[in-house]
């Protein structure tokens, strides 16, 4: 394999990893504050991507020509709308079931995911078909010998890195982050320290869902196409990535996301004849890794309290 092709694969892997990581971070955040897995997370991503697309359609029909302005607006609308949706889900579906068996939370978020997915499929105009997503970033590329470094990929990657670093800063350096970490560590102690538990949970769900919307827009910009099933796929892989990285740790989730993307890229490189099977391979990797390290790469110490 020549260097150009290799660099191309690395770039694809990095983009894929960034999307997985952004989804995985959401799972990790939710698990941190509430100890729940929100299976509808991936479908929030889908709704976010479609919200962005609908906003774009609205903007163009209103006569907006600037790509940059359009990008900023659709990103802001999608992120804010999904943050609000995440808070609603947390407030009315996840929190009321805190004392119920864990199975109920699992089922309710799974069914909610179906509701979101089906709503997009049924109520978005021709939502059952893949929709083209506008290319809003500059398409120019830098020629590096055999490899074309596309500017839009670089921009998306740096935006992703900045987001994750920003999130880490928020969690570790601000009062809000301190409160989130306190709630994650011990809910009752956090409450006695005067932290508004409900508010912190809602804010965390807003942040996680906003990240999902960001990942959804990124997915649309990268593939120039979205369909109602992307969330389900990204949700499953993102959840697996969060588990591999050890649920509850942001860097672990990022690491898990890139690990999955790496494995997938290596799979496509080693088995070019089976390119049709790449999704099958991705899910098989999820199952295999879960069988190998069910509680993450860094083994969780399991102790049962009876």
């Amino acid at each position: 394999m020549n260097a150009g092709l290799f660099a191309q694969y690395v770039m694809n892997g990095l983009m894929l990893g960034m999307m997985y990581a952004l989804v995985a971070v959401g799972f990790t955040l939710f698990f941190g504050v509430l100890d729940v897995i929100k299976f509808s997370h991936g479908d929030v991503l889908t709704v976010g991507a479609f919200t962005a697309l609908a906003t774009y359609v609205g903007l163009t029909s209103a006569g907006l020509n600037s790509n940059w302005l359009a990008l900023v607006i659709i990103l802001a609308v999608a992120v804010m709308a999904m943050a609000a949706l995440g808070m609603l889900i947390a407030r009315y579906l996840v929190m009321p079931l805190r004392s119920a068996p864990a199975l109920n939370t699992l089922l309710i978020t799974l069914m909610l995911g179906t509701v979101l997915r089906e709503c997009v499929r049924l109520f978005y105009p021709q939502g059952a078909n893949p929709k083209p997503f506008p290319a809003l970033l500059p398409r120019s590329s830098i020629d590096l010998g055999a490899f074309n470094l596309r500017l839009d990929n670089v921009l998306m990657l740096s935006a992703g890195v900045l987001t994750i670093v920003g999130l880490q800063f928020l969690l570790n350096r601000t009062r809000l982050g301190l409160a989130i970490r306190a709630v994650a560590q011990d809910e009752e102690t956090a409450r006695t320290m005067g932290i508004n538990f409900t508010a912190i949970v809602l804010i965390t769900f807003a942040i996680g869902s906003g990240l999902a919307a960001f990942a959804g827009v990124m997915n649309g910009l990268y593939y120039n196409e979205i369909n109602f099933g992307i969330g389900l796929y990204l949700g499953v892989v993102g959840f697996a990535a969060a588990i591999i990285g050890g649920l509850g740790s942001v860097y672990g989730a990022v690491l898990g996301g890139f690990l999955f993307a790496g494995l997938q890229t290596v799979g496509t490189v080693l088995m070019p004849f089976a390119s049709a099977y790449k999704d099958v391979f991705a899910f098989a990797v999820v199952i295999a890794i879960m069988a190998w390290r069910p509680t993450g790469l860094i083994r969780e110490k399991i102790s049962e309290r009876v």
């Binding site: 069914m111 509701v115 389900l232 697996a240 069988a291 009876v306």
Partner: protein, 392 residues
């Protein structure tokens, strides 16, 4: 127990009469015949509204307590009566291909949900790939019905294959718990559908036709003529499915009553406590998972043969969720509730064309409502009873 005193007599209370249950089966049969026979959408809608109103009124006046008591007291008799009622229904529609196909679908889906019930309801092993294992059975019938394998064996092979392929998932499922195990079965459901779409051997996205069954030289895909009356060819499949359902139902009921069922219950309610009492958790989880998958696979193989066609779009993750919805709506662990819930979930969208497209959405919303407001399901599982008249 004949001749000796029954425990109920010792209590001094009479054993409840079986009439409420008999009457309810009679009413349900007449109602279903009317609903299945109705063609006009307006008639169907008014029948459905009337049905909902009747159920609400019945609940308001507390009729269902008596009915469910009568059911649990006279379960064997009610089972026979339900079979008679279904046969009567089939006899009424003996020429109507579509209605019979619908009823066969309900029967086979019930068998599949009974299998899922063993995993979910008794052992608490999560399986969100029910439709995939159903599909494994169906594809088995598509492949094997053209070969020399005796056709009566094909469903059994389908069941065995579903269990075999399912056992690949056993290692990860056993090593993980709760949500993690759910993730593995979801990943498998997605993998299965994608695999069916991209492979070349099993018909790819177009799917493949399934040859009808031939039993002892008699093709089940021919209409039957008895004394001048033409019976739809689905009638033979109906009888076969009904027999399968009866066997599966008795099996699940016996399993629940036996010490195996007791072990599975203990496992679901508290794994740690069950292990402390010496139960081999792994062994019972494997048992439940395999028995459940065998039932799902057998039902799937028969369903593939009846439908005459298999394709990737019939065995998606959304279909698996429909199976889980049936389980939740019927009340996890209650086989009688499953039959009722399957009838509702399968028949209503088929008859009411306007909601056909919206069925995934509708049932997801319904399950969310059930979980929020009535988490035990519409017909909750009754307390285990070891002999008639016994009260805890």
């Amino acid at each position: 127990m004949s001749g000796s005193e029954t425990p109920a007599k010792r209590d001094g209370t009479a054993r409840p009469s079986s009439w409420p249950a008999i009457a309810s089966i009679g009413v349900a049969t007449v109602y279903l015949i009317a609903l299945l026979g109705a063609e006009k959408q307006s008639v169907i809608i008014s029948l459905l509204v009337a049905g909902i109103a009747a159920v609400l009124a019945g609940g308001w006046f507390g009729i269902f307590g008596g009915v469910s008591r009568a059911f649990s007291e006279h379960e064997d008799r009610m089972g026979l009566l339900a079979i008679v009622a279904l046969l009567a229904m089939a006899a009424w529609f003996h020429e109507d291909h579509f209605v019979l196909l619908l009823v066969v679908t309900v029967l086979l889906t019930t068998v599949a949900t009974l299998g899922l019930n063993i995993q979910f309801g008794y052992a608490g092993v999560l399986n969100f790939a029910g439709a995939s294992f159903f599909g494994i059975g169906a594809y088995t019938s598509a492949v094997l019905n053209t070969t020399a394998v005796p056709h009566l064996l094909v469903p059994l092979i389908g069941g065995a294959l579903a269990a075999l392929i399912g056992s690949v998932l056993l290692l990860p499922v056993l090593r993980t718990r709760g949500h993690y195990a759910a993730l593995i079965t979801i990943a498998f459901a997605l993998l299965f559908k994608t695999f069916l779409e991209v492979n070349d051997v099993l018909g790819g996205p177009q799917g493949m036709p399934v040859k009808g069954m031939t039993l002892f030289g008699w093709s089940l895909n021919d209409n039957v003529e008895i004394g001048g009356i033409t019976l739809s060819f689905y009638m033979s499949y109906f009888v076969l499915s009904l027999a399968l359902l009866a066997v599966a139902f008795v099996l699940v009921r016996r399993l629940e009553r036996s010490w195996i069922g007791l072990n599975l219950d203990a496992l679901r309610l508290d794994e740690t406590a069950a292990a402390c009492f010496g139960l081999d958790i792994t062994r019972w989880k494997i048992t439940a998972f395999l028995i459940g998958n065998i039932l799902i696979g057998i039902a799937g193989a028969l369903f593939g043969t009846v439908g005459g066609f298999v394709g990737p779009n019939n065995y998606t993750f959304a279909d698996s969720l429909i199976l889980v919805s049936i389980l939740l709506l019927g009340g996890i662990g209650n086989p009688w509730g499953l039959i009722v819930a399957t009838f509702i979930v399968i028949v209503v969208p088929e008859k009411l064309q306007t909601i056909q497209e919206y069925r995934f959405l509708l049932y997801a919303v319904m399950v969310i409502c059930v979980l929020l407001f009535r988490p035990e399901g519409l017909l909750p599982r009754p307390v285990r009873r070891y002999f008639p008249g016994w009260r805890p």
